[in-house]
């Protein structure tokens, strides 16, 4: 995994030619590199796909969220609170934000639309979702990410991109899930939040360096988890001892 990441990072750095090349080249080749460490040049280049036409003035305050709903058989009766959590999640968004919902087995439940429209359409759409089948969690996350890339391409990456995963954390191939989640943190600005159903311990979806986590019993905490970060200090205090700087 480390080797693959380093190769991808090198390729992107060569293309982007950012001022941080040397810094991140060194960083990405570091033997101490851990999975999930941001490769800033790759993040800056996301989404890598060029759209022929883009929004001339995208709304930088818009939040664009893809929600992954676990509808696998392992969810059992937990599918009901999981579906409610997805609906509740819309309450933490503004009407002009955009949202899409993907289920592991069902596929796309709701294509990207405004939150205002989703509040109308989603309850009906979720009725068809049942707990059944396998747990292709990784594939569902990657599908949701692809939808985010498409959205981001049209707005030149401006806005806040989020991936909310409502799941019990069971995956067909746990190692693949680890890699996928780490890769998102390394290569994209997508902020991942998990609404966990019985997930505990050192599960990858609980790692605070990769994203945020709220328990399905406490979905109210989602609002806080989705707050935008402060961009700049409002007062100046010099820091003189810097190592590598990011951005």
């Amino acid at each position: 995994m480390k080797k693959v990441n380093a190769g991808v990072a090198f390729l992107i750095l060569a293309v982007v030619g950012s001022s941080f090349v040397s810094t991140y080249l060194e960083k990405s080749h570091s033997p101490a590199l851990e999975a999930g460490v941001p490769i800033w040049s790759a993040i800056a280049a996301w989404p890598s796909r060029d759209a022929a036409s883009v929004e001339a003035q995208p709304d930088p305050n818009r939040r664009i969220t893809a929600i992954v709903l676990d509808d696998s058989g392992s969810m059992g009766p937990d599918i009901k609170p999981a579906k409610q959590a997805v609906i509740d999640a819309l309450g933490a968004m503004a009407e002009t934000d955009r949202v899409s919902v993907v289920a592991l087995n069902y596929g796309t439940v709701l294509p990207f639309t405004s939150v205002e429209q989703a509040r109308i359409d989603l309850p009906q759409a979720l009725r068809a979702i049942k707990s059944d089948g396998s747990t292709p969690l990784t594939a569902a996350i990657q599908n949701a990410l692809a939808l985010l890339v498409e959205e981001a391409s049209g707005v030149r990456g401006f806005g806040t991109f989020r991936l909310i995963v409502t799941t019990d954390g069971v995956a067909d191939v746990p190692e693949a899930l680890d890699q996928a989640v780490a890769s998102i943190a390394e290569m994209t600005p997508v902020q991942m939040t998990t609404i966990g159903i019985g997930i505990s311990g050192d599960h990858v979806l609980r790692r605070s360096d990769l994203g945020s986590f709220v328990d399905v019993e406490n979905v109210d905490a989602l609002q806080a988890a989705l707050e935008a970060a402060v961009a700049e200090n409002t007062d100046f205090t010099a820091i003189t001892d810097f190592d590598n700087s990011g951005g």
């Binding site: 060029d50 806040t160 943190a185 605070s208 961009a231 200090n233």
Partner: protein, 556 residues
Amino acid sequence: MRSFAYAFTVAAFTVCTAAFASPGDRLAEAVTDSVRDCASGWNQNMPLIAWGADGVVAYANGASLENDGGPLGDAGLPLNLTIEDSFETQLKSYLACDTPYLRGTLGMLAAAAPVTEFDPRTEQIVFFKHSFSAGDGIVSGEGIAKIDDLKGKKIAIQANGPHVDFVGRVLADGGLSFEDVEIVWVSELTGDGDTPSAAIAEGRADAAAVILPDARFLTSGGNVGTGAEGSVRGATILISTQEAASVIGDYIAVRADYFDANRDDIARMVNILFQAEEDMRSFMAKDGDALQTKMAALMANEFLGGLPTEEGVFLWQDAITDGWSGNAKHFGDPNEARRFEVLLGEGNVALRGADRLDAPANLNTAEWDYSKLADGLKNLDDRQIASFNPEAAAAAVQKLRRTGQLDANTKIDFEVYFEPDSTSFPIDLYADDFEEILRLASTYSGAIITVEGHSDPLHFLRREKDGADNAELRAIRTSTQNLSLDRAIAVVDALTSYAKDIEIRMNRDQFTLDGVGISSPRHSPPNTEAEWRENMRVVFRVLTVQAEATTFSPLQ
């Protein structure tokens, strides 16, 4: 494609200087003829140059150079039109009143002031503006990617030609003056001989002011010169009037004594020219139209010496004609950013800087009441202006940034500074700067202007140093990215309001909004409060490259 026509065309302004004087001589040294009185009555002789907008006069004259009826003939104002691309020859005829008219760019008319303004009879009255040019450019050699890279370099310019004020304007907007460069004066504009193209090709100059067909030739089709087939290895088009689309204006001036004696007739002629421009603008945009074919053929034959008809169309497209509304604004609207006084002032600065004038030229205008010159016109809308596809422009800018070409294509920077973690900035402090941006936007009306927001990285760096986890750092980065775009939006919103308040026309689509977050801080880390604040900025950049053909529609 239009190169051949245009090249032949403007082989134009060229010609004579070499026969009468050395390159670099001023007009007053090259033209020393005495002044003669004009005969009474209507003088039918008028010079044209091989320029698309001059087709308007020929069309008004019955689609003919000769006195052949048409609206002018029907009005009792027939003309005998002569293609005269030597400005010195024109000037001699003007002094002798073989013709009472001078046809040139404003810079050329101003350069003639020492010859014309010493005698009240020959004082110039500038009474008609044909067009702005979209067919000239500056080609630079390898290693010159921005205007300020020209510092200390040699620039080849045709003496007494149309490019002196163009070069002066571009140098000034790049923070330079003629004192920062060395001018290599040449006698010809294009073709064989002592041309700017020859000067750069032979290594006598590092850059050259040329017509666009020559520019494309030197740069292997408008890219980077390969050194093959007459191109100059490494040469690129530094800037052109397709971007600086309101810089080189073409005019007709008339002798003061003739104007005083024939003012009403000249006013009627101007009205007819406005009608002709309106008609031509319409039918020249319709491929296959019979009138388009007729006028294109006339221009191809008479102006260009017998080139294919399509070259006449291309010649027309190199000119952005003004018509009634353009003239009314240019000569009569004090809020018009590119009004006559402004261009004359710029021309004077350039000509004096280039040592072509000792004192500013003070040219008079006809001071028409344009409301009385609108008879028969169907459309009094604004002069055609560049139109942009803002979505395609934004995509093109994004592509340039990703491929590392944005800085190389950026020629003129301008900055606005902000309060921390905010999109607020003291608008009142930026009134002068906003006016300068609006001036740049109108001067470079064919260029995309990027408005690029930046954020300060100190908070990110501090949290990184404090050991914040990577999820937080990524979230901060996203916030800085979005803040930077928000800043760009705030500045353009303020600029739009400012332009509206002072009644200056602004094409918002010309501004492409961008945000780069903390990827290009001026100071990283900022070590003082001043450095910290300097990171919170918005940068205006005039892109002198047309990123995509779909991005910009400069003409009809």
